[in-house]
């Protein structure tokens, strides 16, 4: 009756990667990479200890931001950033909707589909700041270059998501409208757009937000907006002014996220 009780076994959770060879090879590879990567970083400790005081000044600047020293520049930069955000989002939407429809596999012939997908791929693979550099070289300094950059970036984002959404729509209304003998534009207006409109609105609001954040970046390379003011403030080590600008950016982003949350909640 009394066989030896089975030795107590400790339960272990299943490993994340089942094959032990692969698991240890990946671990060893990761360790090797980390050693090489950390070894190749050159850290200038003297410069770092210099920077410590500056870091503390930046933190104290955040606690006591100075809005007044560069107030006129800040207002000018913010007006440029905000107007740039609005116009580029509107222009971006206006261009993205046709491209998004064109990039939906279920609505258009193949050549149009590939053309629109190619436009989206180009827009998505070029970063805003590189586009901004090239456009500043072409159209000169100022918010117009920023407007073009952000519109261009909006196309890749919005068209891609809109196209994916259109490919997911319920085909029944499309079939129903088509059965009435409606021409293609009516098909889009009455069967497709009503289905994707709430999501399009949500995406547009989200992009408005992104465009505002990006408008702070394109200013660094001369394309207008609050980034230029920020760049000057940081270059002159005026960390309290820089902190004031960053606080304004964070506040505007928070406010716009809150408002777009409210709007999206009402539309759903």
């Amino acid at each position: 009756m009394s066989a030896n009780p089975a030795p107590a076994r400790r339960w272990r959770p299943l490993p994340f990667i089942a094959n032990p060879w692969l698991r240890y090879a990946l671990l060893a590879g990761a360790a090797l990479y980390l050693a090489l990567a950390l070894g190749s970083i050159e850290v200038n400790w003297a410069r770092l200890s210099d920077g410590w005081a500056r870091g503390l000044r930046f933190v104290s600047g955040f606690l006591e931001p100075n809005f007044s020293r560069r107030w006129d520049d800040i207002v000018q930069g913010m007006i440029e950033s905000l107007t740039m955000t609005v116009t580029s989002t509107v222009a971006g939407i206006a261009i993205s909707v046709p491209i998004g429809i064109g990039a939906a596999r279920n609505l258009v012939p193949r050549p149009v589909y590939f053309l629109c997908r190619a436009i989206i791929a180009v827009s998505r693979s070029l970063q805003e700041i590189i586009v901004a550099i090239l456009l500043v070289a072409m159209v000169g300094f100022g918010p117009f270059a920023g407007f073009l950059t952000l519109s261009f970036a909006t196309i890749g984002f919005l068209s891609k998501l809109l196209a994916e959404d259109i490919e997911d729509i319920d085909p029944a209304p499309v079939e129903a409208i088509r059965a009435t003998g409606a021409p293609w534009p009516s098909l889009i207006a009455f069967a497709v757009l009503p289905q994707v409109a709430p999501r399009l609105l949500g995406l547009s609001l989200y992009r408005l937000d992104i465009n505002f954040r990006e408008s702070a970046v394109v200013g660094i390379v001369g394309a207008g907006g609050i980034g230029a003011t920020l760049n000057t403030a940081i270059d002159r080590y005026e960390f309290d002014s820089a902190a004031a600008i960053l606080i304004l950016i964070i506040a505007i982003v928070m406010a716009s996220e809150y408002v777009s949350g409210l709007i999206r909640g009402r539309v759903k």
Binding site: S40, E42, N44, V90, I130, F147, I250
Partner: protein, 272 residues
């Protein structure tokens, strides 16, 4: 449903009521007027002569940009390695920092919904609102130019991204499993390790790889403000108007971005 009967017989159908049509029309009017107003304010200082000149400028730059200077490629290998390190080490640092923040921000794991949660949420918003290039600009001023500033910039920007998606994943877990673990008498840490972590692991891995992909993309341009990587070469080539080098660098950046997107898609496919 607004259906208008015609005096001569027959009816026509419309999507909106007359009141609805007027409201929509006014909405569009306000939107258009606001956009036009913004446009006017924005273009006040624009010198249109430069804008109309743009096609000529574009053609000029385009002509200078081809052919790319292929012989410059060996000089780009070290910067590429730096770029990879900035993205990877930055992502690793961000993971270490954002996991605690996410647990503090999630409604079901935060120690105090009144005090700690808002602080963690503010940290996430602050990190997300500021682009990594701006973080890099600041950190180059503080830490000096170099790879380290880039790593910290990427890490600071990624905290918000990983933290936000992770805390949303934590809030969506199945409470029953947590309850079951707790019922066995597990301590708080054990509940975390066996009840919550296994549930968020796939989401966590997906989010991290996704952010790594974005970080590769962003670390290629951090050098423009002095934070190391291939962007430094872009900056110096632009400053010396060496357009054939610029073309080569842009092509290399493009290839890197495509490769990282491919890797991240593969890994995410394998995990999820």
């Amino acid at each position: 449903m607004p259906v208008t009967p015609h005096p001569e017989g027959g009816r026509s159908w419309q999507r909106h009521t007359p009141r609805g049509r007027i409201a929509i029309w006014f909405g569009w009017l306000i939107a258009v007027a606001f956009t036009v107003f913004c446009w006017r304010v924005m273009t006040q200082g624009t010198i249109w002569a430069f804008v109309w000149d743009a096609p000529t400028q574009a053609a000029d730059i385009g002509a200078r940009m081809v052919p790319p200077r292929w012989s410059y490629f060996p000089a780009l290998i070290k910067p590429l390695w730096d770029t990879l390190n900035i993205a990877t080490l930055g992502t690793l640092a961000a993971i270490a920092l954002s996991v605690p923040v996410a647990f503090l921000a999630a409604r079901n794991t935060t120690p105090s919904a009144a005090f700690v949660r808002p602080a963690a949420l503010f940290l996430i918003v602050a990190s997300r609102s500021i682009n990594s290039i701006i973080w890099a600009l600041l950190l180059v001023a503080i830490l000096g130019p170099g790879v380290l500033a880039g790593i910290v910039a990427i890490a600071l920007r990624s905290i918000g991204f990983i933290g936000k998606l992770l805390y949303e994943a934590i809030e969506e877990i199945d409470e029953a499993q947590v309850e079951a673990i707790r019922a066995t008498g597990a301590s708080g840490a054990q509940t975390l390790a066996y009840g919550i972590v296994p549930q968020i692991m796939p989401a966590f891995a997906g989010i991290t790889v996704f952010r790594w992909d974005i970080n590769i993309r962003e670390s290629t341009v951090l050098g423009l403000v002095g934070a190391g990587g291939i962007g430094l070469n872009l900056e110096s080539s632009l400053n010396t108007l060496a357009w054939p080098q610029v073309t080569l660098i842009l092509l290399v950046i493009l290839a890197t971005v495509v490769a990282s997107e491919w890797v991240s898609a593969k890994v995410r496919h394998a995990i999820i």
